[in-house]
């Protein structure tokens, strides 16, 4: 058996662009909800002095992780902020003093076993850096008496076009990533580690193969460069041959999937104690004059970063946070960077992705079946669209709308330019509504 995938143009023009640290911004705005789960409650108030790595917000809920300050300076406001998903949360605004004094709270944690690792990872504010933002400590905190994890999959597929931040992590921080993998493998007692890298990154594959040569239990996988190779279910199947069935987690099948940047960060936290306060971002798109990879503090305004790349902000038509397949549109150039960001793509008006049509007229579905051939989980988007249009909840559930991961492959391949992925998202909500 083989999971379907589509071939996308890679456009990884920034793969050789070494990460540049941006200068400390004048102000930052740090959202209290940057992860999946409950938002944090602010621990600071207006006028407080804060330092780099100091905890700004925390929450007692299990499914949550704390937020730390990325700069040193003075809190100017604790305001409300509208998030991309339509919800609002508190945000701490800080005027930076430019000194970047490191907080006394920042000390390397003592980690000796699984429980202490979970605790340390929670305190680091780490969440899945691949984009979903699932709190990492929740993922690691599985019940050992019930679940036996035998495979750790390091997701370094980076299958979205343009984005190269995970690739740069592998090239620039290969030792850090490998140390992180070794620590997690040892502390959790996992037998085999699979490092899944797409074949369009031969340098990274060679580097990891060289560094792990002769070590038992590690395998570098050369994955086909097809989209969505980096989706959790897809990479889990391609690495182990196990299918993550409906309603189960990878851990139920003995699999732990972690993003390569997440592992790299966990290693640096265990060494230095500096929590998650900065992200490596790919800045690309035809509106960006000098596409690059930057290391930016969390909470920095997007417009400040774009200015550093000589981008004419007035000329931007569409600004995407993430990749062009699954990324979300940003509606305000002053949006602050958050933990789960890995790229920002800015496109001019009219949107032109070098030969890729973006907006063109829709025709009726011609039942060509391309969407069915493209869906990685074997759904039938054309049938789903029809079921949604006639308001048929039973048919949507029978066709397993709940398994759609919104990868966008169906919309991409559709010759009639139907908005299948969008319909699927609407249908998902509709199918569970009463």
């Amino acid at each position: 058996m083989r999971l379907n995938g589509i071939i996308l143009p890679h456009r990884k023009g920034t793969e050789n662009a070494e990460t540049v640290a941006v200068p400390c911004p004048e102000t930052v705005k740090i959202a209290m909800s940057q992860h999946m789960g409950a938002p944090c409650l602010p621990l600071v108030k207006t006028g407080d002095k804060v330092e780099v790595g100091q905890k700004l917000g925390d929450c007692e809920t299990y499914m949550s992780c704390p937020v730390h300050s990325s700069v040193s300076g003075t809190v100017t406001a604790v305001s409300d902020m509208l998030l991309a998903n339509g919800k609002s949360c508190k945000a701490v605004e800080i005027a930076c003093d430019g000194l970047q004094t490191i907080s006394k709270e920042v000390t390397p944690p003592e980690v000796t076993d699984k429980a202490s690792l979970v605790k340390a990872v929670r305190e680091s504010g780490c969440c899945g850096l691949g984009g979903a933002g699932f709190p990492t400590h929740v993922k690691l905190d599985y019940d050992e008496s019930k679940t036996k994890i035998d495979s750790l999959i390091i997701n370094a597929a980076e299958c979205e076009p343009y984005i190269t931040s995970d690739y740069r992590e592998m090239i620039e921080n290969a030792d850090g990533v490998i140390n992180g993998i070794k620590k997690i493998k040892k502390l959790l007692g996992i037998e085999s580690v699979y490092i899944g890298i797409e074949s369009n990154k031969p340098k990274a594959i060679a580097l990891f193969e060289e560094k792990l040569a002769g070590e038992d239990g590690y395998k570098v996988l050369r994955l086909k460069a097809s989209y969505p190779q980096g989706a959790e279910k897809v990479i889990a199947f391609n690495a182990t041959g196990r299918i993550i069935t409906e309603g189960t987690l990878p851990s139920d099948h003995g699999i732990l999937v972690m993003n390569v940047s997440t592992v790299g960060f966990i290693n640096s936290y265990l060494e230095t104690g500096m929590p998650l306060v900065e992200r490596r971002l790919t800045i690309d798109g035809d509106a960006v004059k000098t596409p690059c990879n930057v290391r930016a503090p969390i909470g920095m305004k997007l417009s400040d970063i774009l200015k550093l790349t000589d981008t004419n902000i007035e000329g931007i038509h569409k600004l995407i946070s993430g990749g062009p397949m699954m990324g979300m549109c940003v509606y305000d150039t002053d949006t602050p960077v958050c933990k789960t960001n890995n790229a920002f793509l800015a496109f001019k008006k009219p949107v032109s992705l070098k030969g890729l049509t973006v907006e063109s007229g829709q025709t009726n579905c011609i039942r060509c079946g391309r969407c069915i051939g493209a869906c990685p989980v074997g759904l039938m988007p054309a049938e789903l669209e029809r079921a949604y249009d006639r308001g048929d909840r039973a048919a949507l559930n029978k066709l397993k709308i709940n398994l759609c991961m919104n990868c966008g492959s169906c919309s991409y391949v559709c010759p009639a330019k139907r908005d299948l992925a969008e319909k699927n998202q609407l249908a998902k909500g509709f199918a569970i509504s009463k």
Binding site: S360, R367, G378, E383
Partner: protein, 312 residues
């Protein structure tokens, strides 16, 4: 500053469009058209052009009357016109051809909701209506390289049963203007498969079934697949997106069904040719094939409803 555009993902699309798909089909039909022009002369080109023009005109007229956006740009009407012309004898009067395209475009396609909503292949329905309405004009098979001033007709090789394989393969024989040359049609089919416009499931199942069934029935299998409309039907009509099953498994079932019905009509019915009827009949059962060949989602858990019901 201009406001930023906000839209749902994905933000990029493949460059394929409906009209490009149709253009590929038209290109794939061209070898057969050229072969036909060589064999039957200029009137083959004229009749094909006439069918394309009238099909597009009927489509535009329907758009205007139904107050719908202009859909001639998707080129599906041009494909229908071309396929219908391929199913006509080269000597057919133009006014009859216009009736054929009317039935195909207006009745079969537009009255059911336009592209994507027709239940049967428009060109097939057009041909069948013409065949039932004008049986003598629809069975005037001019000999190859005929003289326009003194048209000599002959029975199709399917009826006469005495043509050479090489004649059938090249198309030096009587028949509908587009169906005679097996090699030109195969060339077009290979082009479509190479461009990933069609998958070979239905054509191979169709042609294979005709070959096996004919051999089992004691006929010459190779002769059966090379003569008549099998190649044209299998490559260009049994692969029509709209009226054939959507999954690979469904396409194979469709092809096998077409092959069996074609042979049954050819061998044991009064009609000499059964390709059009077989495709029409299979078009009608396509929704049921689709229903029974639905793909199961990867990792999906399906409850067995029927069995649970019986246990109670």
């Amino acid at each position: 500053m201009d406001k930023l555009t906000v839209s749902p993902s994905p933000h990029i699309r493949d460059s394929i469009t409906t009209s490009k798909v149709m253009l590929h089909v038209i290109i794939a039909l061209c070898p057969a058209l050229i072969a036909s022009a060589v064999i039957f002369g200029g009137r083959a080109l004229m009749l094909t052009g006439f069918c394309i023009l009238t099909a597009m005109a009927w489509e535009r007229l329907c758009n205007i009357i139904m107050k719908r956006p202009n859909s001639t740009g998707d080129l599906s009407a041009a494909v229908t016109g071309m396929l219908l012309a391929f199913n006509l004898p080269v000597t057919l009067p133009y006014w009859m051809a216009a009736i054929g395209t009317f039935v195909a475009i207006v009745i079969t396609k537009q009255l059911f909701g336009g592209l994507g909503h027709n239940f049967a292949n428009p060109a097939i329905v057009g041909r069948i209506v013409l065949m039932l309405s004008f049986p003598s004009a629809m069975s005037q098979w001019a000999v190859p390289f005929y003289d326009a001033n003194a048209i000599v007709t002959q029975p199709t090789p399917l009826v006469s049963g005495n043509a050479e394989y090489s004649e059938l393969f090249l198309g030096i024989t009587g028949g509908c203007l587009g169906e005679v040359s097996a090699c030109a049609l195969l060339l077009g089919g290979c082009y479509l498969a190479a461009m990933k416009i069609i998958t070979p499931h239905a054509p191979i199942a169709f042609i294979g079934t005709v070959f096996v069934f004919s051999t089992l029935a004691g006929r010459d299998g190779l002769y059966q697949i090379l003569s008549g409309g099998v190649m044209l039907g299998a490559i260009f009509m049994a692969t029509d997106y709209v009226t054939t099953p959507i999954t690979s498994k469904g396409k194979v079932i469709f092809g096998i069904g077409c092959g069996i019905i074609t042979c049954v009509i050819r061998f044991w019915c009064s009609a000499p040719e059964g390709v059009s009827y077989s495709i029409l009949l299979m078009n009608i059962v396509t929704p049921y094939i689709d229903m029974f060949t639905r793909r199961k989602a990867v990792g999906g858990i399906y409850k067995k409803e029927a069995k649970e019901g019986k246990a109670e």
